[in-house]
Protein backbone atom coordinates (compact mmCIF):
# COMPACT_ATOMS: atom_id res chain seq x y z
CA UNK A 1 0.00 0.00 0.00
CA UNK A 2 1.30 3.38 -1.03
CA UNK A 3 0.17 5.26 2.06
CA UNK A 4 1.86 2.85 4.46
CA UNK A 5 5.11 2.78 2.53
CA UNK A 6 7.59 4.98 4.47
CA UNK A 7 9.54 5.84 1.36
CA UNK A 8 6.66 6.50 -0.95
CA UNK A 9 7.96 9.51 -2.93
CA UNK A 10 4.46 10.72 -3.67
CA UNK A 11 3.32 10.81 -0.07
CA UNK A 12 4.78 14.30 0.39
CA UNK A 13 2.36 15.68 -2.18
CA UNK A 14 -0.75 14.37 -0.51
CA UNK A 15 -3.21 16.92 0.71
CA UNK A 16 -4.61 16.42 4.17
CA UNK A 17 -7.33 18.44 5.75
CA UNK A 18 -6.52 20.50 8.83
CA UNK A 19 -9.88 22.18 9.31
CA UNK A 20 -13.02 21.17 7.42
CA UNK A 21 -14.80 24.00 5.68
CA UNK A 22 -17.60 24.17 3.14
CA UNK A 23 -19.22 26.95 1.23
CA UNK A 24 -22.38 26.09 -0.72
CA UNK A 25 -21.51 22.45 -0.64
CA UNK A 26 -18.05 22.99 -2.07
CA UNK A 27 -15.20 21.64 0.02
CA UNK A 28 -12.81 24.46 0.80
CA UNK A 29 -11.18 22.91 3.83
CA UNK A 30 -8.03 24.43 5.26
CA UNK A 31 -5.42 21.87 4.24
CA UNK A 32 -1.68 21.48 4.56
CA UNK A 33 -1.48 23.14 1.15
CA UNK A 34 -3.36 26.16 2.48
CA UNK A 35 -1.11 26.19 5.54
CA UNK A 36 2.02 26.35 3.42
CA UNK A 37 0.51 29.08 1.25
CA UNK A 38 0.02 31.02 4.48
CA UNK A 39 3.62 30.20 5.45
CA UNK A 40 4.86 31.49 2.11
CA UNK A 41 3.06 34.82 2.39
CA UNK A 42 4.01 35.03 6.07
CA UNK A 43 7.66 34.56 5.11
CA UNK A 44 7.38 37.24 2.44
CA UNK A 45 5.63 39.63 4.80
CA UNK A 46 8.17 38.96 7.54
CA UNK A 47 11.01 39.69 5.15
CA UNK A 48 9.49 43.00 4.13
CA UNK A 49 8.23 44.04 7.54
CA UNK A 50 11.68 43.46 9.00
CA UNK A 51 13.30 45.04 5.97
CA UNK A 52 11.12 48.12 6.14
CA UNK A 53 10.97 48.58 9.89
CA UNK A 54 14.03 50.82 10.06
CA UNK A 55 14.23 52.45 6.70
CA UNK A 56 17.44 54.35 6.23
CA UNK A 57 19.61 55.68 3.45
CA UNK A 58 22.27 53.14 4.38
CA UNK A 59 20.33 49.87 4.59
CA UNK A 60 20.82 47.12 7.12
CA UNK A 61 20.85 43.47 6.06
CA UNK A 62 17.11 42.88 5.97
CA UNK A 63 16.49 46.16 4.17
CA UNK A 64 19.23 45.25 1.71
CA UNK A 65 17.53 41.91 1.09
CA UNK A 66 14.13 43.44 0.45
CA UNK A 67 15.63 46.15 -1.76
CA UNK A 68 17.61 43.55 -3.68
CA UNK A 69 14.48 41.55 -4.44
CA UNK A 70 12.62 44.75 -5.35
CA UNK A 71 15.36 45.89 -7.69
CA UNK A 72 15.74 42.40 -9.16
CA UNK A 73 12.09 42.24 -10.22
CA UNK A 74 11.90 45.93 -11.13
CA UNK A 75 14.91 45.60 -13.43
CA UNK A 76 13.53 42.41 -14.94
CA UNK A 77 10.24 44.12 -15.69
CA UNK A 78 11.96 47.24 -17.04
CA UNK A 79 14.28 45.20 -19.28
CA UNK A 80 11.53 42.99 -20.63
CA UNK A 81 8.54 45.31 -20.82
CA UNK A 82 9.83 48.85 -20.39
CA UNK A 83 8.11 51.69 -18.57
CA UNK A 84 4.64 50.52 -19.59
CA UNK A 85 5.09 47.51 -17.31
CA UNK A 86 5.14 49.63 -14.14
CA UNK A 87 1.41 49.17 -13.58
CA UNK A 88 1.87 45.40 -13.37
CA UNK A 89 4.84 45.54 -11.01
CA UNK A 90 2.91 44.72 -7.81
CA UNK A 91 1.52 41.57 -9.40
CA UNK A 92 4.86 40.44 -10.87
CA UNK A 93 6.63 41.14 -7.59
CA UNK A 94 4.03 39.27 -5.51
CA UNK A 95 4.08 36.41 -8.01
CA UNK A 96 7.83 36.03 -7.78
CA UNK A 97 7.95 36.25 -4.00
CA UNK A 98 5.08 33.78 -3.61
CA UNK A 99 6.54 31.16 -5.95
CA UNK A 100 10.02 31.71 -4.60
CA UNK A 101 8.98 31.14 -1.01
CA UNK A 102 6.67 28.22 -1.89
CA UNK A 103 9.58 26.54 -3.69
CA UNK A 104 12.04 27.19 -0.89
CA UNK A 105 9.77 26.23 2.00
CA UNK A 106 9.05 23.02 0.08
CA UNK A 107 12.75 22.13 0.22
CA UNK A 108 12.62 21.76 3.98
CA UNK A 109 12.01 18.10 4.91
CA UNK A 110 8.46 17.20 6.04
CA UNK A 111 7.02 20.30 4.42
CA UNK A 112 4.59 20.62 1.58
CA UNK A 113 5.38 22.26 -1.75
CA UNK A 114 2.42 24.36 -2.86
CA UNK A 115 3.83 24.82 -6.34
CA UNK A 116 4.14 21.08 -6.92
CA UNK A 117 0.39 20.97 -7.53
CA UNK A 118 -0.59 21.60 -11.11
CA UNK A 119 -3.84 23.28 -10.10
CA UNK A 120 -1.93 26.02 -8.29
CA UNK A 121 0.56 26.67 -11.06
CA UNK A 122 -2.19 26.41 -13.65
CA UNK A 123 -4.27 28.92 -11.72
CA UNK A 124 -1.38 31.37 -11.97
CA UNK A 125 -0.63 30.53 -15.59
CA UNK A 126 -4.28 30.71 -16.58
CA UNK A 127 -4.74 34.02 -14.80
CA UNK A 128 -1.64 35.39 -16.52
CA UNK A 129 -2.80 34.04 -19.89
CA UNK A 130 -6.25 35.58 -19.52
CA UNK A 131 -4.89 38.86 -18.22
CA UNK A 132 -2.28 39.09 -20.97
CA UNK A 133 -4.88 38.35 -23.65
CA UNK A 134 -7.28 40.96 -22.25
CA UNK A 135 -4.48 43.53 -21.91
CA UNK A 136 -3.37 42.74 -25.45
CA UNK A 137 -6.82 43.38 -26.92
CA UNK A 138 -7.41 46.43 -24.73
CA UNK A 139 -4.15 48.11 -25.69
CA UNK A 140 -4.05 47.13 -29.36
CA UNK A 141 -7.64 46.33 -30.29
CA UNK A 142 -7.86 43.82 -33.09
CA UNK A 143 -4.28 44.75 -33.98
CA UNK A 144 -3.30 42.31 -31.25
CA UNK A 145 -4.05 39.52 -33.73
CA UNK A 146 -0.81 40.51 -35.48
CA UNK A 147 1.08 38.34 -32.98
CA UNK A 148 -0.25 35.33 -34.91
CA UNK A 149 1.27 36.62 -38.13
CA UNK A 150 4.80 37.94 -37.56
CA UNK A 151 5.86 40.71 -39.93
CA UNK A 152 8.25 39.81 -42.73
CA UNK A 153 6.70 36.41 -43.41
CA UNK A 154 5.63 35.82 -47.06
CA UNK A 155 1.85 35.61 -47.44
CA UNK A 156 1.90 32.08 -48.85
CA UNK A 157 3.39 30.86 -45.56
CA UNK A 158 0.50 32.34 -43.59
CA UNK A 159 -1.66 29.17 -43.64
CA UNK A 160 1.26 27.36 -42.07
CA UNK A 161 2.55 30.02 -39.69
CA UNK A 162 -0.75 31.30 -38.28
CA UNK A 163 -1.99 27.94 -36.91
CA UNK A 164 1.44 27.26 -35.43
CA UNK A 165 1.45 30.68 -33.75
CA UNK A 166 -2.08 30.14 -32.45
CA UNK A 167 -1.18 26.75 -31.02
CA UNK A 168 2.00 28.08 -29.44
CA UNK A 169 0.03 30.99 -27.97
CA UNK A 170 -2.62 28.69 -26.53
CA UNK A 171 -0.01 26.31 -25.14
CA UNK A 172 1.72 29.08 -23.20
CA UNK A 173 -0.30 28.62 -19.99
CA UNK A 174 0.15 24.86 -20.17
CA UNK A 175 3.90 24.98 -20.67
CA UNK A 176 4.23 27.69 -18.03
CA UNK A 177 2.30 25.77 -15.38
CA UNK A 178 3.65 22.31 -16.20
CA UNK A 179 7.25 23.54 -16.20
CA UNK A 180 7.05 24.78 -12.63
CA UNK A 181 4.90 21.97 -11.32
CA UNK A 182 6.88 19.19 -12.96
CA UNK A 183 10.19 20.63 -11.79
CA UNK A 184 8.99 20.75 -8.22
CA UNK A 185 7.31 17.34 -8.40
CA UNK A 186 10.25 15.59 -10.03
CA UNK A 187 12.87 17.25 -7.89
CA UNK A 188 11.16 16.53 -4.61
CA UNK A 189 10.32 12.96 -5.64
CA UNK A 190 13.93 12.23 -6.55
CA UNK A 191 15.08 13.70 -3.25
CA UNK A 192 12.62 11.44 -1.43
CA UNK A 193 13.64 8.38 -3.44
CA UNK A 194 17.32 8.89 -2.70
CA UNK A 195 16.57 9.59 0.94
CA UNK A 196 14.76 6.25 0.93
CA UNK A 197 17.82 4.54 -0.58
CA UNK A 198 19.92 5.79 2.34
CA UNK A 199 17.61 4.02 4.77
CA UNK A 200 17.33 0.85 2.68
CA UNK A 201 21.08 0.46 2.06
CA UNK A 202 21.96 0.86 5.74
CA UNK A 203 25.75 1.09 6.07
CA UNK A 204 26.19 1.59 2.33
CA UNK A 205 23.77 4.48 2.51
CA UNK A 206 26.57 7.04 2.45
CA UNK A 207 26.74 6.76 -1.35
CA UNK A 208 23.18 7.99 -1.96
CA UNK A 209 23.70 10.42 0.92
CA UNK A 210 26.50 12.14 -1.00
CA UNK A 211 24.34 12.12 -4.08
CA UNK A 212 21.45 13.53 -2.07
CA UNK A 213 23.56 16.44 -0.85
CA UNK A 214 24.54 17.30 -4.42
CA UNK A 215 20.97 16.86 -5.56
CA UNK A 216 19.71 19.07 -2.77
CA UNK A 217 22.03 21.83 -3.87
CA UNK A 218 20.73 21.39 -7.39
CA UNK A 219 17.14 21.51 -6.17
CA UNK A 220 17.88 24.71 -4.27
CA UNK A 221 19.12 26.19 -7.50
CA UNK A 222 16.05 24.92 -9.34
CA UNK A 223 13.72 26.37 -6.70
CA UNK A 224 15.14 29.84 -7.32
CA UNK A 225 15.53 29.31 -11.05
CA UNK A 226 11.95 28.16 -11.60
CA UNK A 227 10.57 31.14 -9.69
CA UNK A 228 12.75 33.33 -11.90
CA UNK A 229 11.70 31.55 -15.11
CA UNK A 230 8.02 31.75 -14.23
CA UNK A 231 8.32 35.46 -13.53
CA UNK A 232 10.43 36.34 -16.55
CA UNK A 233 8.11 34.40 -18.87
CA UNK A 234 5.20 36.34 -17.41
CA UNK A 235 7.11 39.53 -18.22
CA UNK A 236 7.77 38.30 -21.76
CA UNK A 237 4.10 37.45 -22.33
CA UNK A 238 3.16 40.84 -20.95
CA UNK A 239 5.61 42.48 -23.33
CA UNK A 240 4.05 40.58 -26.23
CA UNK A 241 0.67 41.92 -25.18
CA UNK A 242 1.89 45.51 -24.90
CA UNK A 243 4.10 45.47 -28.01
CA UNK A 244 2.74 42.85 -30.42
CA UNK A 245 4.80 44.16 -33.35
CA UNK A 246 8.03 42.40 -32.45
Amino acid sequence: MAADNPIDPIHQFEISKIAEMQIAGIDISFTNSSLFMVFAIAATMTLFILGLSKRSIIPNRMQMLSELSYNFIANMLRDQVGDQGRAYFPFIFSLFMFIFFCNFIGLIPYTFTVTSHLVVTFAFAGLIFLAVTIIGFMKNGLGYLRIFYPSGIPIFLAPLIVPIEIISYLSKPISLSVRLCANMLAGHSILKIFAGFIVMLGFLGFAPLIFLVVLYALETLIAALQAYIFTILTCIYLNDALHPDH
Binding site: A2, I28, F48, R55, E67, M97, F98, L185
Partner: protein
Amino acid sequence: MKFFLKIFIFVLPLSEAYAEGQKSAGLPQMDISTFPSQLFWLIITFTALYLFMWKFVIPRLSTTIEERKDKISNDINDAENLNSEASKILENYDDKMNSASLESNEIVSSSKATMNEYLDKLKKDNEIKINAMITESEKKIHQQKQQSEQEIKKATIDTIKSIVSKYVENVPSDDEISKKLN
Protein backbone atom coordinates in the same frame (compact mmCIF):
# COMPACT_ATOMS: atom_id res chain seq x y z
CA MET B 1 17.75 12.34 -18.66
CA LYS B 2 15.75 14.60 -16.40
CA PHE B 3 12.85 14.42 -18.81
CA PHE B 4 12.72 10.64 -18.62
CA LEU B 5 12.99 10.79 -14.86
CA LYS B 6 10.03 13.13 -14.79
CA ILE B 7 7.98 10.80 -16.93
CA PHE B 8 9.05 7.91 -14.76
CA ILE B 9 8.00 9.74 -11.62
CA PHE B 10 4.69 10.66 -13.13
CA VAL B 11 3.92 7.25 -14.54
CA LEU B 12 5.18 5.04 -11.73
CA PRO B 13 2.62 5.91 -9.09
CA LEU B 14 -0.14 6.09 -11.67
CA SER B 15 0.52 2.56 -12.86
CA GLU B 16 1.00 1.35 -9.30
CA ALA B 17 -2.33 2.79 -8.29
CA TYR B 18 -3.93 1.34 -11.36
CA ALA B 19 -2.54 -2.08 -10.60
CA GLU B 20 -3.69 -1.97 -7.01
CA GLY B 21 -7.12 -0.68 -7.99
CA GLN B 22 -6.89 2.35 -5.74
CA LYS B 23 -9.86 4.65 -5.60
CA SER B 24 -7.70 7.76 -5.68
CA ALA B 25 -5.98 8.53 -8.97
CA GLY B 26 -2.55 7.89 -7.48
CA LEU B 27 -0.95 11.26 -7.91
CA PRO B 28 -2.39 13.67 -5.36
CA GLN B 29 -2.07 16.29 -8.11
CA MET B 30 -4.84 14.51 -10.03
CA ASP B 31 -7.29 14.45 -7.13
CA ILE B 32 -9.95 16.86 -8.33
CA SER B 33 -11.68 16.97 -4.95
CA THR B 34 -8.83 19.04 -3.50
CA PHE B 35 -8.94 21.63 -6.29
CA PRO B 36 -11.62 23.97 -4.89
CA SER B 37 -9.86 24.20 -1.55
CA GLN B 38 -6.49 24.82 -3.14
CA LEU B 39 -7.89 27.46 -5.47
CA PHE B 40 -9.87 29.12 -2.68
CA TRP B 41 -6.90 29.40 -0.36
CA LEU B 42 -4.60 30.37 -3.19
CA ILE B 43 -6.90 33.28 -4.06
CA ILE B 44 -7.11 34.37 -0.43
CA THR B 45 -3.41 34.13 0.33
CA PHE B 46 -2.23 35.57 -2.95
CA THR B 47 -4.71 38.44 -2.78
CA ALA B 48 -3.49 39.19 0.73
CA LEU B 49 0.10 39.11 -0.48
CA TYR B 50 -0.75 41.26 -3.49
CA LEU B 51 -2.46 43.89 -1.35
CA PHE B 52 0.41 43.82 1.12
CA MET B 53 2.93 44.30 -1.67
CA TRP B 54 0.88 46.91 -3.49
CA LYS B 55 -0.13 49.05 -0.53
CA PHE B 56 2.65 48.50 1.96
CA VAL B 57 5.91 47.24 0.49
CA ILE B 58 6.22 48.88 -2.89
CA PRO B 59 5.43 52.51 -1.90
CA ARG B 60 7.83 52.35 1.02
CA LEU B 61 10.60 50.59 -0.86
CA SER B 62 10.33 52.86 -3.87
CA THR B 63 10.37 56.03 -1.75
CA THR B 64 13.39 54.72 0.17
CA ILE B 65 15.19 53.88 -3.04
CA GLU B 66 14.22 57.20 -4.61
CA GLU B 67 15.35 59.06 -1.52
CA ARG B 68 18.67 57.28 -1.67
CA LYS B 69 19.04 58.04 -5.38
CA ASP B 70 18.21 61.70 -4.72
CA LYS B 71 20.61 61.83 -1.83
CA ILE B 72 23.39 60.26 -3.86
CA SER B 73 22.80 62.52 -6.84
CA ASN B 74 22.61 65.55 -4.53
CA ASP B 75 25.82 64.54 -2.87
CA ILE B 76 27.46 64.04 -6.25
CA ASN B 77 26.19 67.46 -7.35
CA ASP B 78 27.52 69.03 -4.17
CA ALA B 79 30.85 67.33 -4.64
CA GLU B 80 31.02 68.49 -8.25
CA ASN B 81 30.15 72.05 -7.22
CA LEU B 82 32.78 72.02 -4.52
CA ASN B 83 35.26 70.55 -6.95
CA SER B 84 34.62 73.25 -9.54
CA GLU B 85 34.78 75.88 -6.83
CA ALA B 86 38.08 74.50 -5.64
CA SER B 87 39.47 74.46 -9.16
CA LYS B 88 38.23 78.03 -9.63
CA ILE B 89 39.98 79.04 -6.44
CA LEU B 90 43.11 77.27 -7.61
CA GLU B 91 42.88 79.04 -10.97
CA ASN B 92 42.42 82.35 -9.18
CA TYR B 93 45.40 81.60 -7.01
CA ASP B 94 47.50 80.69 -10.03
CA ASP B 95 46.40 83.85 -11.80
CA LYS B 96 47.24 85.93 -8.77
CA MET B 97 50.57 84.18 -8.40
CA ASN B 98 51.37 84.80 -12.06
CA SER B 99 50.36 88.46 -11.95
CA ALA B 100 52.22 88.93 -8.68
CA SER B 101 55.37 87.40 -10.08
CA LEU B 102 55.02 89.50 -13.21
CA GLU B 103 54.53 92.58 -11.07
CA SER B 104 57.47 91.76 -8.90
CA ASN B 105 59.60 91.14 -11.96
CA GLU B 106 58.51 94.50 -13.28
CA ILE B 107 59.28 96.16 -10.01
CA VAL B 108 62.68 94.48 -9.89
CA SER B 109 63.51 95.43 -13.47
CA SER B 110 62.22 98.99 -13.09
CA SER B 111 64.11 99.50 -9.87
CA LYS B 112 67.19 98.02 -11.55
CA ALA B 113 66.69 100.49 -14.37
CA THR B 114 66.26 103.44 -12.03
CA MET B 115 69.24 102.29 -10.06
CA ASN B 116 71.33 101.99 -13.20
CA GLU B 117 70.13 105.41 -14.35
CA TYR B 118 71.00 106.88 -11.00
CA LEU B 119 74.36 105.21 -11.03
CA ASP B 120 75.02 106.33 -14.60
CA LYS B 121 74.03 109.87 -13.73
CA LEU B 122 76.14 109.76 -10.63
CA LYS B 123 79.06 108.43 -12.66
CA LYS B 124 78.61 111.07 -15.34
CA ASP B 125 78.29 113.87 -12.82
CA ASN B 126 81.33 112.70 -11.00
CA GLU B 127 83.24 112.33 -14.25
CA ILE B 128 82.35 115.85 -15.19
CA LYS B 129 83.31 117.08 -11.75
CA ILE B 130 86.50 115.08 -11.82
CA ASN B 131 87.31 116.27 -15.29
CA ALA B 132 86.65 119.84 -14.24
CA MET B 133 88.78 119.38 -11.18
CA ILE B 134 91.50 117.80 -13.30
CA THR B 135 91.51 120.61 -15.80
CA GLU B 136 91.44 123.15 -13.03
CA SER B 137 94.27 121.55 -11.19
CA GLU B 138 96.15 121.16 -14.46
CA LYS B 139 95.61 124.86 -15.06
CA LYS B 140 96.73 125.61 -11.54
CA ILE B 141 99.73 123.42 -11.99
CA HIS B 142 100.50 125.10 -15.27
CA GLN B 143 100.05 128.52 -13.72
CA GLN B 144 102.14 127.66 -10.78
CA LYS B 145 104.72 126.16 -13.07
CA GLN B 146 104.81 129.34 -15.11
CA GLN B 147 104.81 131.45 -12.04
CA SER B 148 107.57 129.50 -10.47
CA GLU B 149 109.46 129.52 -13.72
CA GLN B 150 109.14 133.27 -13.81
CA GLU B 151 110.06 133.53 -10.22
CA ILE B 152 113.04 131.30 -10.78
CA LYS B 153 113.93 133.39 -13.81
CA LYS B 154 113.59 136.58 -11.82
CA ALA B 155 115.54 135.18 -8.97
CA THR B 156 118.19 133.97 -11.34
CA ILE B 157 118.32 137.32 -13.01
CA ASP B 158 118.52 139.04 -9.65
CA THR B 159 121.22 136.69 -8.53
CA ILE B 160 123.12 137.10 -11.75
CA LYS B 161 122.69 140.90 -11.47
CA SER B 162 123.95 140.97 -7.98
CA ILE B 163 126.87 138.70 -8.85
CA VAL B 164 127.70 140.63 -11.97
CA SER B 165 127.42 144.01 -10.19
CA LYS B 166 130.15 142.90 -7.88
CA TYR B 167 132.55 142.43 -10.79
CA VAL B 168 131.33 144.66 -13.51
CA GLU B 169 130.24 148.24 -13.33
CA ASN B 170 128.19 148.16 -16.33
CA VAL B 171 125.34 146.04 -15.11
CA PRO B 172 123.28 144.49 -17.96
CA SER B 173 119.62 145.13 -17.94
CA ASP B 174 117.09 142.46 -17.08
CA ASP B 175 116.13 141.96 -20.68
CA GLU B 176 119.67 141.31 -21.76
CA ILE B 177 120.13 138.78 -18.99
CA SER B 178 116.93 136.98 -19.81
CA LYS B 179 117.88 136.90 -23.50
CA LYS B 180 121.19 135.34 -22.54
CA LEU B 181 119.59 132.86 -20.25
CA ASN B 182 117.27 131.61 -22.89
